[in-house]
Symmetry: C2
Subunit: 241 residues, 2 copies
DNA sequence: GTTCATTTGTCCGTATGTATT
DNA sequence: AAATACATACGGACAAATGAA
């Protein structure tokens, strides 16, 4: 009977709640696996899967031979993973929006076709947006998406919904699974300085992003210019084990 | 006895080899789990663990109900995870080094004590380095590490070994498990412009980094200034599942 | 220095559920 | 509707690390 959430996931959430309620405190050991098995009446496999997720997310740390402890330091709140501009801004208490949205269907130039892994004859959509937070321009965003993902869908929802990834997922059934960002610092040229309300040659973050579907195909290539003075890009990296 | 590597890890490497040899091609399905169980004479648990690692690393993609495919696009080569400056430069075929290394033991100021999660009375080491690639200055790096991690160890090895994380791991037995980077674009002031051989007000990447031990304690806080024209910071993010 | 109890790591086999074709 | 393939879950066994007796 259809409890949608798997058991291990419910156990994981239960453990998170016990941390939130102060029953498990940072830096202290939680009950050993055997005790959790007894407590929740589940198998050790399930307990270990739940704990494994919490470890992956940086909430807990396992010390072999001793036990499992709640990580003493909370990582800077889950900016680790893929998060849209919209989500990021909201998390910081800002009101995200977009102005000057322009969408066109066109042939890609060679550089863009190559990044997307398609031929130059296959059409792409160019989605240009200036994005704002509390009505102040923050980023210039120019995305290229192979037309086959968007053809036949209502593109005006991009303006309404703001989050491109949300439109892709909900309307087009294409889920972005991972992204690859290449980050540089550059100087604002005249055009971009004007758009972003900064001075000529002021520093900008320049990001080239590739977004991949679950199946590993390149869904989006985008060039993003971000005001240096108003934005911090926070990223958590874990050592490969 | 004593094969140090666990079975699932050997299976994982075996699968990687079969990709490298062209037996499994990008975008194509690999044998189903049952067949791999037969082939390698191991349990399904073990096969799934091996595949799970490859999925986490972006090498493979699971499509439920259909099978497991080798990701069609190779992610930009494993810059996903935590990698030291030394490793990063070597990977790009450059010769990393460090000049002007200065190490001192001191009391932290309030900002630094707070980041490290220690009291202002607890001593820290300040490790200042200008790092080069092919003899060209690339970054200014100023790290703060609570003294208790380094006291009693030979700090000159930092100059020799170049990689601070390697010294921490091999000499001090402190392993860096994850880092949290906050990235901004800023303008070079006079001092930093001179050190990095760039013009005044040229764009720099500015990174504030916190490095955590396996136990979740802050081991290092560092401020890093990077030449914008010579460096791309590449990062892969995965969606939380 | 050794032994011992505790705790996590690895591995197996099996059964059943769910998504896709 | 049936076959295939991955997802979840159980329970048991032994290995390896740790800290304390």
């Amino acid at each position: 009977m259809g409890n949608a959430e798997p058991l291990y996931y419910r156990i994981k959430e239960a453990l998170e709640q016990r941390i939130a309620k102060g029953e498990f405190r940072r830096g202290e050991f939680i009950p050993c696996e055997a005790d959790l098995v007894d407590f929740y009446k589940v198998s050790r496999t399930t307990v270990r899967k739940a704990i494994g997720m919490l470890v992956d997310e940086g909430t807990m740390t396992i010390v072999r031979g001793r036990g499992t402890i709640v990580a003493p330091t909370r990582l800077n709140y889950r900016v680790a993973d893929l998060m849209s501009f919209t989500e990021l801004m909201r998390q910081q208490g800002l009101r995200p929006s977009a102005i000057d949205v322009r969408i066109s269907r066109q042939r890609p130039d060679k550089a863009i076709a190559e990044r997307l892994g398609i031929g130059e004859e296959e059409a792409v959509y160019e989605i240009y947006r200036v994005r704002t937070a509390d009505d102040e321009p923050i980023t210039i965003n120019c995305s290229y998406i192979p037309a086959r993902y968007l053809d036949g869908h209502d593109l005006r929802s991009i303006e309404r919904k703001q989050s491109l990834y949300k439109v892709l997922e909900e309307d087009c059934h294409v889920e972005i699974h991972s992204t690859e960002d290449s980050i540089q610092a550059i100087s604002a040229d005249r055009t971009r300085a004007e758009i972003l309300h900064v001075g000529l040659n002021d520093p900008l973050l320049y990001i080239e992003r590739l977004a991949y579907s679950k199946a590993g195909e390149v869904v989006e290539f985008s060039r993003i210019y971000i005001r240096g003075d108003r934005y911090k890009h926070t990223i958590t990296l874990r050592k490969r084990s």
